[in-house]
């Protein structure tokens, strides 16, 4: 009797990359910023990060298992990523319930209500952050000085510039290593760039969105500051720009999937963020810029899809 073999259509081999590999890589890439956050903001930061992750994962599990009655996919690490990113966007002085509410909202409403992984049209962490900002503005902007010992309230560099406070700006070195006020995960440029380099090296994200984003901010700031090279460079390292450009704007499902669209998306983020920073009512425009571009993303994608091979040049 001849043996019968399995039949399926080609290709018969698949790459080793899986959803959980990708998400785990993102978690690994967020670790340097996690350490930096805990180093500068102390134990409260760690507690908030853990609570946020815990709440995100628990929400994902409950919604999938009991409400949508499907297989829970918490093992794919994507809820962990959302939990970490949300905590990164919150000051370390925030009350514990704030992150719990925020990450539950991110997962249940922004992610799962729209169909789960890959179907959210906004970055869940950023949408949740915007919701928290609108509901609890005081808790969301209670900055602390970054010294471990003295927890005095202190303005962020963006606050100083935006509100024209008569406080000396932190040095360039301090803003690069993260020794300034701000949200838990956004202050240390060095830590974020280490993680970003890892993600690019692993092929998880492409450089297109972050490069277009950061490049645009730099060029616009150069004009807006009256060709002040120092300030336009300084402007790149403060606020949530680095975290936003590398970790939030690159969210797969809320950004275009084709290369040209990604560049347009990045430029759009850069324009909105810089305009808000220099002329808007808020000191920071990174998260709003990404959220707005998230909404525009399907449209961009539609009109930026490349011509087919052998098709007419567009």
């Amino acid at each position: 009797m001849e043996s019968l073999f399995r039949v399926s259509s080609s290709p018969h081999i698949r790459s080793k990359q899986t959803v959980s590999n990708i998400m785990r890589d993102v978690v690994i890439a967020l670790l340097p910023a996690t350490f930096a956050g805990v180093y500068y903001f102390g134990l409260p930061a760690l507690v908030l990060i853990l609570l946020s992750v815990g709440s995100a994962v628990a929400t994902e599990f409950i919604v999938q298992k009991y409400l949508r009655k499907q297989k829970a996919t918490i093992k794919d690490w994507s809820a962990v990523v959302t939990g970490m990113l949300l905590a990164f966007n919150i000051p370390s002085t925030a009350p514990w319930w704030l992150v719990v509410v925020g990450s539950a909202f991110a997962i249940a409403i922004v992610k799962q209500a729209f169909g789960g992984l890959g179907h959210n049209f906004m970055n869940p962490a950023l949408a949740a952050r915007a919701m928290l900002m609108a509901s609890w503005p005081v808790e969301m902007t209670n900055w602390v000085s970054t010294r471990l010992a003295d927890s005095v309230a202190g303005p962020t560099p963006l606050g100083i510039i935006g509100e024209k406070l008569s406080v000396a700006l932190p040095s360039m070195t301090d803003v690069i290593i993260g020794n300034v006020g701000g949200c838990i995960g956004e202050t240390s440029v060095v830590a974020i760039l280490i993680g970003a380099a890892y993600l690019i090296y692993r092929g998880v994200i492409s450089i297109r969105i972050p490069a277009a984003y950061i490049g645009t901010v730099f060029i616009l700031a150069f004009f807006f500051t009256g060709f002040d090279l120092y300030m336009s460079t300084y402007n790149l390292f403060i606020g949530g720009l680095m975290l936003g450009a590398f970790f939030m704007a690159t969210d797969y499902s809320s950004s275009p999937s084709n290369p040209k669209g990604q560049i347009i998306f990045g430029i759009g983020c850069g324009v909105i963020a810089t305009v808000i920073r220099f002329y808007g009512g808020y000191p920071e425009g990174v998260s709003y810029s990404i959220i707005l571009m998230n909404v525009a993303s399907p449209l961009i994608e539609k009109y930026s899809s490349s011509r087919v091979f052998g098709g007419a040049k567009k």
Binding site: E2, S3, L4, F5, R6, V7, S8, S9, S10, P11, H12, I13, R14, S15, Q17, T18, V19, N21, I22, T73, D76, G115, G116, L117, G118, H119, S206, Y252, S253, P256, S257, N258, P259, Q262, S305, S306, R307, V308, F309, G310, G311
Partner: protein, 440 residues
């Protein structure tokens, strides 16, 4: 020299090390051959022998039934046992079963045609047609058809595909190493048939030894340029190869001749050389037998019509539990549910996977990561074509240019969510084509 390439593409593991250093060995002569009348796309052949007939090597046993068809010949001498429907790859087909007498007597029609220099381009074309030569790298498209473009298409270049970009396969690699002169000779014949000034042979840079031997064999012929291609899948796909060599894009929905090019495979070229020099039609070919579930991977010269199981037995048989049997490479090859089928002119590889490798991964949600978009060599958006195909919205799939898909499988390969992208795109293509036929 800089490496030539195309945009997009993937880097699957090469997996060629099992056989790339192994010289081609001749398979044991089969006692029985089963010669399928369906060796290629195009019309199947008509058997012209009947039970009890005595046939010799090189004798025609199936005649072409239309222009897009190509005759088939016996690969042994012996008696026709039956002419009947039998299992072949992908279904049933009319087959001529011949019991070999072990003599390998050569048929009277098989006589040398002399040298290219003494032949007109018409005569060479006739030789190619009568020798049953088809594209040996892929679907087996009859070569004489490619060589007869309508007069309004101006062809100015012939390209030989020596990329062998499919993982695992090393048949073309060994051929280029062991008989480079034949490859070059065949290309010169093609150049003459098409009356062009330029011929390329493209070889991926993971085969530097083949590049060297072919370059050596081609060095007296200024009209032939041997080019090194960047190792990337699907470098050997017609349109991508034309782009790599000439920077010309075959227009969407067009054929290579629309870009002034004809592409053939190195093995086909060697078969042409053989048909001219010895008069022997295409009755045997080199095949790579490899994979984790075969005892001793090999490159073998096998006669058309040899039972696949017999070939595998000559490689020490199966190792462990077999999961999948693939005819061709892992990216574009066809899986067969049985090993009781005959080899054909297009059997470039027999790939045997173990149970683990044969597992079909479970698909997850599309992440919209865009990886399939950035690697598609046809610049498509596989995620959307596939999504619409799965929703049976074939009109939308058509709008997203489903018909431009070359079925290379790169998108399914890279997808981290393991979505069956190409599979669903194929469904869409079938539906779209069926609809177009109907509305005509």
């Amino acid at each position: 020299m800089s490496l030539l390439s195309f945009k997009g593409g993937i880097h699957p593991p090469h997996e060629k090390k099992y056989t790339e250093k192994k010289a081609v060995v001749k398979a044991v002569d089969p006692k029985v051959v089963t010669i399928s009348m369906r060796q290629h796309i195009g019309a199947p052949c008509n058997p012209i022998v009947k039970k009890g007939d005595y046939v010799k090597v090189g004798q025609m046993v199936g005649e072409a039934t239309s222009f897009v068809s190509s005759p088939v010949h016996s690969s042994v001498s012996g008696t026709v046992k039956e002419v009947t429907n039998k299992n072949v790859l992908g279904g049933k087909a009319m087959c001529v079963v011949i019991e070999s007498d072990g003599e390998n007597l050569i048929h009277e029609t098989v006589v040398s045609n002399g040298d290219i220099s003494g032949l007109s381009s018409k005569e060479i074309l006739e030789i190619i047609k009568n020798a049953g030569i088809v594209g040996m790298g892929g679907a087996g498209f009859p070569t004489h058809v490619k060589l007869s473009p309508p007069p309004e298409k101006k062809i100015d270049v012939v390209i030989l595909n020596g990329a062998e970009c499919e993982p695992y396969l090393t048949a073309d690699h060994r051929l280029m190493l062991e008989t480079p002169a034949e490859v070059v000779y065949g290309l010169r014949a093609l150049i003459k048939v098409l009356n062009v000034q330029k011929g390329y042979i493209g070889i991926e840079n993971n085969k530097p030894d083949a590049f060297k031997s072919i370059s050596e064999a081609a060095k007296e012929y200024p009209e032939i340029e041997v080019v090194e291609l960047y190792t990337k899948y699907p470098q050997g796909a017609e349109k991508q190869l034309i782009y790599a060599c000439t920077k010309r894009e075959v227009p969407s929905a067009g054929l290579p001749m629309d870009a002034g090019a004809v592409v053939s495979n190195v093995a086909t070229s060697a078969a042409i050389a053989n048909a001219i020099k010895t008069g022997m039609p295409l009755v045997e070919r080199i095949c790579t037998i490899t994979g984790s579930s075969v005892v001793e991977p090999k490159n073998m010269l096998i006669k058309v019509g040899t039972n696949i199981k017999e070939i595998i037995d000559q490689c020490g048989g199966y190792k462990g539990k077999v999961g999948k049997l693939i005819m061709g490479g892992p990216m574009m090859g066809l899986a067969s549910n049985t090993d009781n089928i005959p080899s054909t002119k297009t059997t470039s590889g027999i790939l045997i996977f173990n149970e683990d490798e044969a597992k079909i991964p479970e698909a997850e949600n599309c992440l919209k990561c865009g990886k399939c978009v950035s690697i598609c060599p046809s610049f498509l958006e596989p995620l959307y074509i596939s999504a619409y195909a799965l929703k049976n919205d074939f009109e939308k799939a058509e709008k997203y240019n489903a018909l431009d898909c070359i079925e290379c499988g790169s998108c399914s390969f890279v997808c981290p969510s393991k979505r069956p992208l190409l599979h669903s795109i194929r469904v869409a293509k079938k539906e779209i084509i069926a609809k177009r036929r109907k509305s005509k």
